[in-house]
């Protein structure tokens, strides 16, 4: 009688899922996360399969209870982890079982085994060899889902294909990574107003030249074009140089100092348009301040998180992305400015007014960044 009651209660809880269980080939669901030199695993294995392999139904009544499963936890963990080997390079990694839980899938109840794996040399590519249940079920499959540095890799492990080599993130696809960092570069030019404003400040006078104490329009396109080429090239060379040095760890500077210097560079460039003190070799100014802007880009790139293995590809991608963004701005600006160079609109409003505005914004940034004053909150 006591036994009958024991059946009745769980039946109330379980008859609903049990009524519509599927007949399907055997699968296990293996989920792995690689994080900080460790692999964390969660492995869902069908109780029916575990029973077939290890005999869980101790009292032979055709029912597997939580008690029967719980007391066999060690044997199950040893059996399962014995059929899943991890290695890094030539070295095997040690697995350690964790807690055991229960879950339901479309074909019934599953034991959920949590475990962790320690690989001595995670820098080597990790390989796993799966062999669970293959000895008695040729249709069994291990459905692997692995998360490594935010990317999900999946595989179906079978007797024909029992191994899986974890692709290190940087080797996933160098080209895709290159593109990804390239996009980041473009994006940060577009949302980095200080860089855009600096560039604009340098470009505004490019279609003019300083004669007899005032700005006058250049007569032909060629000198304006070369002036822009020189400025942009100098700026690019300079910020690529410091960006690379900073990312490679050869220079480092406090970011507050760098941010303030960038704001100062924008202010100086804008003021220079109003009261020019260097009439020739403006590219030298571009170069000098470009060095500072490069350090600013480096902060962004380092924040994005660089894969340890190879720095060059993302670095080059990011740099080219920044260049591409700049070129887009320049090629949109230059023809328009050249066409409008004689007009009052350009010479007065855009050149003078724009520079004053840029100088104002840059002053606020400079104050805010150096004094950490939240002036913007007053205005905004």
């Amino acid at each position: 009688m006591k036994r009958g009651i024991a059946y009745l209660i769980p039946c109330l809880l379980l008859c609903a899922p049990a009524a519509v269980l599927a007949h399907k080939p055997s699968d296990s669901y293996l989920r792995l996360v690689i994080q900080d030199q460790r692999i964390h695993g969660q492995w869902d294995i069908a109780l029916r399969d575990l029973d077939y392999a290890l005999g869980l139904d101790k009292n032979n009544d055709g029912l597997i209870t939580w008690g029967e499963l719980r007391t066999r936890h060690e044997a199950i963990a040893a059996y399962a982890l014995g059929h899943l080997q991890f290695s890094a390079g030539e070295v095997f990694c040690a697995s350690r079982p964790g807690e055991q839980l229960v879950d339901y899938h479309s074909d019934g109840a599953y034991g959920v085994l949590r475990f962790s794996v320690n690989c001595p040399a995670v820098s080597e590519p990790i390989e796993l060899r799966y062999g669970l249940f293959f000895e008695f079920d040729s249709l069994h499959r291990g459905l692997l889902s692995l998360e490594y540095q935010g990317r999900i890799q999946t595989a179906v492990l079978s007797p024909e294909q029992p191994t899986f080599r974890v692709a290190p993130p940087s080797a996933l696809s160098p080209w895709r990574e290159f593109l990804q960092f390239g996009r980041e570069g473009v994006w940060h030019i577009w949302i980095g107003y200080d860089h855009i404003l600096f560039l604009l400040s340098l470009l505004l006078p490019a279609v003019l030249c300083w004669k007899r104490g005032r700005w006058q329009a250049v007569t032909t396109f060629r000198p304006a074009f070369w002036e822009v080429v020189k400025i942009v090239t100098a700026f690019t060379l300079a910020h690529s140089l410091t960006l690379s040095l900073a990312v490679l760890g050869m220079v480092s500077s406090p970011s507050r100092w760098v941010e303030s210097a960038i704001a100062a560079s924008v202010l100086v460039a804008a003021l220079h348009n109003l009261y020019p003190f260097i009439h020739h070799r403006l590219w030298l100014v571009a170069f000098a301040f470009g060095l500072v802007h490069g350090l600013g880009f480096a902060t962004i790139l380092l924040d994005l998180g660089l894969p340890g293995a190879s720095l060059w590809l993302p670095l080059a991608g990011f740099n080219l992305g920044v260049e591409f963004g700049q070129l887009a701005i320049v090629s949109a600006f230059l023809p328009l400015a050249f066409m409008a160079r004689y007009t009052w609109l350009y010479q007065r409003l855009i050149m003078k007014g724009g520079s004053v505005l840029i100088a104002l914004v840059a002053s606020i940034w400079l104050l805010e960044r150096s004094l950490e004053l939240e002036l913007e909150s007053w205005f905004g």
Binding site: S26, Y29, V33, L69, L139, T154, V156
Partner: protein, 383 residues
């Protein structure tokens, strides 16, 4: 530890939150009763084979039993067990004949028709007097829609095996290629003349006979054949599915519910139940549709899509997505061509208002001279 809950879209439902049961007495899983004599025999065989895994006669016996369970229960785990038992011989360049025959059956069940046919061709080349090989070959050829080749593969059976098996084989193929009435009469006569045939043989003959009667539009005769087949009390998923389809077409969903509710583990049976519940507007429908969705998704995760016909029916009638159903039906049609494969494709094409998509099936039906009342009705519905 934050484990990702995704293996792709639509799969999240498969992962509920794992839990620790509150009591040791909580029942987690029901197994096939270990006291069942068949189960006991299987585990005894398995233990013996573990001692000497290279004992071929023993391995064949166990593999055959697993394979038969896999068929009658529509449970692919048993197919996997059978394959593993045969592993010492499975990948040999020239496996023993009986291994080849079983391998063909198991490959056929994974819808590897080419692999199965090549295994059977090997068997027949080595031993032309092998009735099982001819029969298996005939069945596969018929599923693929090559009725003439199927009929030819049945002919050697007339000399090699019982008259009922041979007649069922020939009649089944011939009834699909312009000789529906004659084949039906012939099989009916032979069956009546042989009341002493084994239950398995009768089951097959009666199922084929019932399906022939359905195609001819003889509903009363069909029902009588189905009922007689069921009364043999042999567990057979195919028979249950075919009878459920008949009842659904006859507008008798209550009976489908009663017929199937005992065992919903095979996907095909749950599908028919859900179709019946749709007609009955049952409260169970939503959860059964959800369950079927999860099952098809689970198969897809394995990189397998074996039940395309069922999936097409599911997508068409229960999800109401005719365009997607049509694609599935077309993929299914590329693999197999039984009357029901044609029907699912025509139904999907009709719902999707895509008459050109139906054309290959219409051409095929004309060239095979297939007679099927339901298909004729469907064809008439096309503009």
């Amino acid at each position: 530890m934050a484990l990702p809950l995704l293996l792709g879209t639509g799969r999240v439902a498969l992962y509920a939150e794992p839990f620790i049961p509150s009591s040791d007495d909580q029942v987690l899983e029901r197994l096939r009763a270990p006291s069942d004599p068949q189960m006991r025999k299987l585990s005894r065989l398995r233990r013996t084979l573990a001692q000497e895994p290279h004992n071929l006669p023993l391995a064949l016996e166990l593999a055959r039993q697993y394979s038969e369970l896999g068929r009658s229960e529509a449970d692919p785990r048993y197919d996997g067990y059978a394959m593993a038992v045969l592993r010492p011989w499975w990948n040999k360049p020239s496996p023993p004949l009986e291994v080849l025959v079983l391998r063909a059956t198991l490959r056929q069940r994974r819808h590897d028709f080419d692999g199965a046919l090549s295994d059977l061709a090997q068997v027949i080349a080595r031993q032309p007097n092998h009735p099982q090989a001819w029969l298996s070959q005939a069945v596969i050829l018929q599923v693929r829609g090559d009725h003439e080749a199927a009929r030819r593969s049945c002919l050697p059976l007339l000399r090699q095996t019982s008259a009922l098996i041979a007649t069922t084989c020939v009649a089944s193929a011939a009834s699909l290629s312009g000789q529906a009435k004659d084949s039906y009469q012939m099989l009916r006569t032979v069956l009546e003349e042989r009341p002493s045939a084994t239950a398995q043989e009768q089951l097959w003959a009666l199922t084929v006979l019932a399906e022939m009667a359905v195609r001819l539009g003889h509903t009363q005769a069909a029902e009588a054949h189905f009922r007689k087949a069921l009364s043999l009390n042999l567990r057979d998923t195919y028979l249950l599915g075919a009878f459920a389809d008949f009842l659904l077409d006859e507008g008798r969903p209550e009976e489908v519910e009663a017929l199937l509710k005992a065992d919903l583990r095979p996907d095909g049976l749950l599908l028919r139940l859900a179709l019946a519940e749709q007609q009955l507007t049952s409260s169970q429908l939503a959860s059964h549709v959800q369950n079927l969705r999860a099952r098809f998704a689970a198969n897809q995760m394995r990189g397998e899509r074996l039940h395309l016909r069922d999936e097409a029916r599911f997508t068409l009638h229960l999800l109401g997505q005719p365009e997607k159903a049509l694609q599935l039906a077309q993929r299914n049609w590329a693999v197999q061509k039984e009357p029901w494969d044609a029907r699912v494709l025509l139904e999907a094409a009709l719902e999707a208002h895509d008459s050109p998509a139906a054309q290959p099936v219409l051409d095929w039906l004309q060239s095979t001279r297939l007679e099927d009342q339901r298909l004729q009705d469907l064809i008439a519905a096309f503009p």
